[in-house]
Structures are given as structure tokens and as C-alpha cells.
């Protein structure tokens, strides 16, 4: 059978074998957690607690009145030790609330919903916002905003993203195998909120167990969903690529999936939604893959948000001596870590430690215009030219060649035989173009 997929893209070695068959383990409660005030795209939160306050698990410790944002909850029961800047996994120092564990765990739950099928939709959306749920695939866009599209956008399809196209990561894969029912329930709730009839579950074909499990439970529980096995190709998990793979619809430039009537959500998000609506649990934990050949015993862990990465590594037998790089997320788009005190945030889907055997240092050659990047770019851009324009600050050309379309998937840099940091330069180009546009707008005023 020919599997559906998108055009171009590539197939990197996936290294999923490290942790693919490891069942999700719950990490023991950490003694200290560091919870960043902002773990989502949108307005930052303000701390609602002070040094010395006692907090319960699930208590809101930071919030904001802005619409595009999500509150932050304490993930353990204990005392607020400090509120100040600590290492953030995205490579900066951000304000975080340091909580030290104390006494027995006590939960503060969300507003209880008796039967979600009859509850008003506004209520469900409110609970999802109060639960602090954001896109857990890594983009961390607040879910309640996605579930509340403007009146004029008619949504007709819902796609559940179980693609997990990044190498190494297996968190979504394991979650689908072990918690299929809850994921399907979360999907049903979200489709109920959006009033959508057509539901698709996109899963790449390198997760046969997850596909058969989801297929089985969809049939057994009588959901009208369609499980769509997809050809293994990176970056299929990107929203625009997934919509094309499943529905063959192209999201126009600078538009959102809802403009073509589609809402995409990650399986981990669906799981969190089910927990929030049915069990009234806010988002205080997530599955994170700890893997790579630099880890003694790779595992999939259910960890509380704010747990320092070193706790995760300790639970996995620590990192090996010859570890070369440690990054959060997959190797194609992940952020390298320089400090293991950085905490698990809502967007952490994995933490990977690799040795030089898997990630080599390379020398850069001049561009030989082989066109490999052009043949690979899923957005149909010309990375070789964009990176040149970014270096030479040709703003008009950057604009003409569509630099803002870049989804920063890193495919171009992966395939480049000259090892040119193409996607890195394109990111610089996007920044420069944005800056120059802002400057121009200012001058006009």
C-alpha cells in the first residue's frame, strides 16, 4: 500500500531503538523544582506566590489576564524558596519559581466537570485554559486559543499529531501505546468543543505498535476517527506538512491551519486535555524521553514539570563520560543544553545526550550549488540562496525568496554536503528581515 506523505523532505537515521520499547516510568518526586513563569507562546505570566509561601501540587503559581497565554502550576507540594533567574533550557536565563518539596503530596484540583458531553463549551475551554495546557509537541501554543477559532473560520477537520518525526524521541509513541484510551478521549473532547465531525490520527509508519493500538481502541470504543499511517519522512510532524500528508491541503503563506478548516493537536496535548476534563488535573507532568548513546540506560519518563534535567539523567544511570552534546528535543530542531540544572518545561519532549560516535564535528566547504537543499526543503525554498542573502544582508532578496516561509526544520543543513549551516543562517536572515521591517515601519511614522 502506498502511504500518504508530503513532497520533498528527507529521512534521517531515526535512532528510536534506544527507547522505543521502554515503558513509561514515573520519575520519583524531585526535591526541588524550578518552574519558569513563561512556558508558552504569548504573554508572560506574573508570579502569584511569594518567597516562603506553601504551595500544593496543581496550585496556580503564576498567571496573567492576557488571552494568548496559559497559567503555570506548582508541580509538587512544598515551599517557595526563591523567585529569580535560573537556567532555562532554551539557552537563556529566565525568571523561575524554585519550590522545595515538603511533607505529603496534596493536590489542588481544577473545577470538576461531571459530564463533558453536556457541559457548556465555554466551560470546557475555560477549564483547559486553567489547566495550563499548551501544545506539548514543542511549539507550546496555548491550546484553548486553538480550540476557540474566530466565528468566520469554519473548522471541518481535526488532526491528531502522533507523527513524532524527530529522531530519538519516543515519548508520543509510548504514550499512544500505553494511554490510547485517554488520548482518544482527549481528542473526542477537543472535537466536541470545535464541533468537528472528521477526525484523523496521523502516525508515521515506524511506530507499528502505536498504529495498531490506536486502530484497535478506535474500533473498540466506537470513535469515528481514522488512523492514517504515514510514510516515514522528516519533517512530517510540522503542522503544514502533516495537513498536506493527511488531507492534501496546502496552508497558504502566512496563514494558519484554521484558514483551511483544520486544527492540529499533539497526542500529548490530547492526553493532558483528558486528564484536565475528566480527572480535573492541571498540567503538572509530561512524558519526556531520555535517550541517546550518551545515556547509560535510555528511558521514557513521566516527569513533573520543573524537574532539573540532572534528576532525569540520574534516573537513567547518568550520562557517559564521553558525552559530546546534550540537547532538549530532537536532533533536528532541539536546543543544546549547557547546564543540567535547567528544568523540564511544557515543551520538553525529550532530552538527548550523544557521544561523538553519532554526532561528528564537520568541516565546512564552499557551496558547490549541488541543489540538495533545494531538493529537500519541504517549504520549497532555496536555502542556499537564502543563507547567502542573510549573510550579505540583502533584505529585498530575502523577502522575494520567501525567507519567512522557513519552518526551521533543519533539513537543508542536514543534507548539505558542504556542511554549511544553512538553517542557522536562515534564522539569522529572518531575524534581520524582521528587524529591518520594524525599522522601516518606525521611519514611516
Amino acid at each position: 500500500m502506498k502511504l500518504s506523505t508530503f513532497k520533498k523532505g528527507l529521512h534521517p537515521e531515526d535512532y528510536k531503538y534506544f527507547s522505543q520499547d521502554k515503558a513509561i516510568e514515573t520519575l520519583p518526586l524531585p526535591d526541588d523544582v524550578y518552574i519558569p513563569l513563561q512556558q508558552h507562546i504569548g504573554a508572560p505570566c506574573e508570579a502569584l506566590v511569594q518567597k516562603g509561601d506553601k504551595v500544593k501540587t496543581g496550585q496556580v503559581i503564576a498567571n496573567t489576564g492576557a488571552y494568548v497565554s496559559a497559567p503555570v502550576h506548582s508541580s509538587i507540594t512544598g515551599v517557595v524558596k526563591d523567585i529569580q533567574k535560573y537556567y532555562h533550557p532554551l539557552g537563556m536565563r529566565a525568571t523561575m519559581i524554585h519550590i522545595q518539596r515538603e511533607g505529603e503530596e496534596e493536590w489542588e484540583l481544577l473545577e470538576k466537570i461531571d459530564d463533558w458531553k453536556w457541559a457548556p463549551k465555554e466551560k470546557l475551554i475555560e477549564v483547559i485554559r486553567d489547566a495550563g495546557i499548551v501544545g506539548l509537541g514543542g511549539a507550546t501554543f496555548p491550546t484553548h486559543v486553538k480550540l476557540n477559532p474566530p466565528e468566520d473560520k469554519a473548522i471541518d477537520s481535526f488532526i491528531l499529531n502522533g507523527v513524532e518525526c524527530e529522531p530519538y524521541l519516543t515519548a508520543d509513541d509510548r504514550l499512544m501505546i500505553e494511554e490510547a484510551d485517554k488520548i482518544l478521549l482527549g481528542m473526542a473532547i477537543m472535537m466536541h468543543i470545535l464541533d468537528v465531525k472528521k477526525g484523523y490520527i496521523g502516525i508515521e509508519n515506524n511506530k507499528p505498535k502505536a498504529i495498531s493500538m490506536m486502530q484497535k481502541r478506535v474500533v473498540e470504543l466506537g470513535y469515528p476517527f481514522q488512523v492514517v499511517p504515514l510514510k516515514v519522512k522528516y519533517p512530517q510532524g510540522a503542522e503544514k506538512m502533516l495537513i498536506y500528508s493527511v488531507l492534501k491541503k496546502k496552508v497558504p503563506y502566512s496563514k494558519l491551519p484554521m484558514d483551511v478548516g483544520v486544527v492540529v493537536n499533539n497526542v500529548a496535548t490530547a492526553y493532558a486535555v483528558a486528564e484536565a476534563i475528566v480527572e480535573s488535573k492541571p498540567l503538572v507532568q509530561r512524558v519526556i524521553t531520555v535517550t541517546g548513546d550518551g545515556v547509560t540506560e535510555p528511558k521514557n519518563l513521566m516527569a513533573r514539570l520543573g524537574t532539573p534535567f540532572k534528576n532525569l539523567f540520574e534516573a537513567c544511570g547518568n550520562v557517559k563520560d564521553d558525552v559530546h552534546r546534550i540537547f532538549m528535543g530532537g536532533p533536528m530542531m532541539g536546543m543544546t543544553q549547557y547546564h543540567l540544572e535547567s528544568p523540564v518545561v511544557k515543551g520538553s519532549s525529550g532530552i538527548v545526550a550523544v557521544t561523538e560516535n553519532l554526532v561528528e564535528e564537520v568541516t565546512t566547504f564552499p557551496c558547490i550549488r549541488c541543489g540538495a537543499c533545494v531538493r529537500t526543503c519541504p517549504m520549497n525554498l532555496m536555502p542556499l540562496r537564502l543563507s547567502k542573502f542573510a549573510q550579505e544582508k540583502h533584505m529585498d532578496n530575502l523577502n522575494e525568496f520567501g525567507v519567512m516561509n522557513c519552518i526551521e526544520c533543519g533539513s537543508c543543513a542536514y543534507v548539505c554536503p558542504a556542511n554549511i549551516p544553512l538553517v542557522q543562517w536562515i534564522k539569522v536572515g529572518k531575524l534581520r528581515l524582521r528587524e529591518s521591517n520594524a525599522k522601516k515601519a518606525k521611519e514611516k511614522e
Binding site: 550520562v319 554526532v359 558547490i368 532555496m382 543543513a413 549551516p421
Partner: protein
């Protein structure tokens, strides 16, 4: 060039992370056993100016630093030297056939061309202070390709001169690998053709083709000088039993290598297809119009350097377009120019000039044929 060798966003390695971490009581290193503190006043410990160990090493049990760099953190296996050596490997069947046909003369020409190409590259590297690039395989390839386009009887000093011109004026003056507009090997040959038009058209027939005749003409030359009265058989064209350049005589050996290139994707399949396809179509139309005056398409394809040019010269990555649409235009353009030169031009062979001509248009083709990006809407009407 040096500034692009480093990833642009990578923080500097010597950035001291502990220095921005005053809360050292909270931030303990992850090591299990406490080790003596590494943070000392550099002036106080008096270790004789020895470089201080980076405090970040203590983050991990090992003494190693980890790399902090922007994504992606993995890499495909391709590399520029691999591409170059793949093309060289693909030329080997033709080289072996040529050694069999022309013997030591061919071997000497090939070795001299490669040696002088590498020598010129080395001298340029030294003069231009660009770091050695002779090991990336591109100079070897240029030398080899140049030798393939020369007649076996070409004087050694001429070969050496051509190789030097190819490297210096074909590649290095533009800034080295990747910066040249024209195919260096063809530029070197064009120089030789302009300077020594007689020597470069003095062909040796293969050893077994004619026992006593030492020189002969190429099938194309014969065809056009006799107004179509003499046509070499397709069989001899395929197996190389004809007069011609070192590398262009045996079509089969070239096709084997060319297909290998297409399979490993070291060459774009669109280029040979569109180039040879255009030649077949264009010359086919002419042949149907007047079969006596014009050669038939098969003869056009298998004689002269078309196979060599289409698979090995035109597909040179540096001097061919990167967009699919640009590649089609490039190939079709070369085909048209080639037939025009062969049929109506003063020269019997036009592969070299057709490729060089279209090489010059490549930067423009790349600009004109930008692919429509994913989800691009039709351009809005200009106000």
C-alpha cells in the same frame, strides 16, 4: 570565507557559564562525589599561566566539554569530496577503455593533466592564502576531465598548460571551488582550442582501427567535411572504434559511469535527459526534412563528446542550475546550441561551447526559476 565556517549563533566556547551563575549554592555540579572546587582566583593559585580548566567541564563527570551549537545536531553522510570522488570513479570505465584504445599516450596525457591541475591548485592556495584544497578532489576531477577532452596525440606541454589555465583562470580567479561560473575543464580546453586549433584537431585512430594509419578524423568531422557521404556505424561509435578525444570514443563506458552518477544522485538526471533529448528531437526534425544533408539523431548522439559532456560536464554542480525548472531550460538550451553549432557552425563539434554558453546563463536561470514555495498564493496585482 572563514566567517561561515562557524555556525553563526553558536555561543563562544570560552564563555564562562559559571561566571553568570552567582547562585553557586543552589547550582551544584551534577558529579556524584565532591571534587575540589575549580573556581579559584587565577592570579592566586600561581599555576604558571596554565590554561584554567573550563568550569563547565564539571557539569558532567568527564573532563570533556559539551558542545553548545544551534540545531540540527545530526548530519547526512554526504560531503563535497565524496561527490568529487564519485564523479572520478564514474569516469573510470571510460578511462580504462581509453587506456586500452590509445595506450600509454592516453595515460601520459591523463597523468600530466591531473598533476598540473593539482600543482596549480596548490600554488594558488599558497599565493591566495586560502588553506589547502587539493584534497577535496575537485582539482583531480578538473584535470581528468580536461584530459578526457584532448586528443591522445596532444603534446604534453599543451596538456600541462591547459590544466594550469583550467585551474587558475577557470576556477581560482573566481575564488576557488564553488565560485566559478564556467566549467574549469572546458574553459581550459577552450583556451587550448583557441591557441592550438590544429594540434587539438589532430586525431589518432585507436590502435586496432587502422594498422598503419596514425591519424584520422572524428566521425563528425568526416561527416561534415564529406557532406554526409561517410557515416560511421553505430556499433563502432558505441565501442569506441573511432577517432576522437581520449574520453569520448566509447559511448558504452561513458553511459555506465553516467548511470552510476544518476543512481547515486551525484548528477541531476534532468540534465542529460533534457540535453540529449533536445539533440535527438532537434536533429530528428532536420533529418526527417532532409535525410541526406543532415545526420540521423542516433549518429548525433553517439558521435563526438555529447555523452561525455551531457553526463560529466554539463552536470557539474557548480555550473548548473539548482532549480528543477532552471535545469530543464539549461539542458534544452545546450541541446539547441549544440545542434546549431554542429549543423550550421564552422566547427564539427559544439559540445564544449554549448555547455560554456549555458554555464554563463546559470546565475540568471537560478534567479528566474525560483520554485513556488509551499502554499504560495498567486501574486497580488501591483498597485
Amino acid at each position: 570565507m572563514t566567517d561561515i565556517k562557524k555556525a553563526p549563533e553558536a555561543p563562544k566556547k570560552d564563555e564562562n557559564v559559571e561566571a553568570v551563575a552567582p547562585e553557586k549554592d543552589i547550582k551544584k555540579p551534577i558529579e556524584d562525589k565532591p571534587k575540589p572546587p575549580v573556581r579559584k582566583n587565577p592570579s592566586a593559585d600561581g599555576d604558571g599561566g596554565k590554561p584554567k580548566p573550563d568550569p563547565r567541564r564539571k557539569l558532567f563527570k568527564s573532563e570533556r566539554m559539551t558542545i553548545v551549537a544551534p540545531a540540527p545536531h545530526n548530519k547526512g553522510k554526504g560531503s563535497v569530496p565524496k561527490v568529487m570522488y564519485a564523479v572520478i570513479a564514474a569516469l573510470m570505465p571510460a578511462v580504462i577503455v581509453s587506456l586500452f584504445l590509445f595506450g600509454t599516450k592516453a595515460m601520459i596525457t591523463i597523468l600530466v593533466a591531473i598533476f598540473f591541475a593539482m600543482l596549480a591548485e596548490y600554488v594558488c592556495n599558497k599565493v591566495m592564502k586560502t588553506g589547502l584544497t587539493i584534497d577535496d578532489g575537485s582539482a583531480i576531477l578538473t584535470g581528468l576531465l580536461l584530459a578526457m577532452t584532448l586528443p591522445p596525440s596532444f603534446p604534453i606541454w599543451g596538456t600541462a598548460l591547459g590544466a594550469v589555465v583550467a585551474i587558475v583562470f577557470g576556477k581560482q580567479v573566481f575564488g576557488g571551488l564553488g565560485a566559478n561560473i564556467f566549467n574549469p575543464a572546458l574553459l581550459g580546453r577552450a583556451f587550448l582550442q583557441a591557441s592550438f586549433p590544429v594540434k587539438i584537431t589532430t586525431w589518432t585512430l585507436p590502435a586496432f582501427a587502422a594498422t598503419d594509419a596514425v591519424t584520422g578524423a572524428t566521425p563528425l568531422g568526416t561527416f561534415f567535411s564529406t557532406d554526409g557521404a561517410t557515416v560511421a556505424s553505430i556499433k563502432s561509435l558505441l565501442f569506441g572504434n573511432i577517432g576522437g578525444c581520449i574520453g569520448e570514443t566509447s559511448a558504452i563506458a561513458l553511459l555506465v559511469g553516467g548511470l552510476f552518477l544518476l543512481v547515486i544522485k551525484a548528477a541531476d538526471w534532468r540534465i542529460p535527459l533534457s540535453y540529449i533529448g533536445t539533440v535527438v528531437v532537434f536533429s530528428g526534425i532536420l533529418w526527417l526534412a532532409d535525410p541526406v544533408k543532415y545526420p540521423d539523431p542516433l549518429f548525433m548522439v553517439f558521435s563526438g563528446g555529447l555523452i561525455l559532456g551531457a553526463f560529466f560536464m554539463a552536470t557539474d554542480m557548480v555550473t548548473s542550475p539548482v532549480t528543477p525548472a532552471g535545469t530543464w531550460i539549461y539542458g534544452i538550451g545546450m541541446g539547441i546550441v549544440l545542434v546549431i553549432i554542429r549543423v550550421w557552425g564552422g566547427l564539427p563539434e559544439g559540445v564544449m561551447y554549448s555547455i560554456l554558453f549555458m554555464n554563463g546563463l546559470v546565475p540568471l536561470l537560478n534567479r528566474w526559476t525560483r520554485p513556488k514555495y509551499f502554499g504560495e498564493m498567486p501574486a497580488e496585482p501591483k498597485k
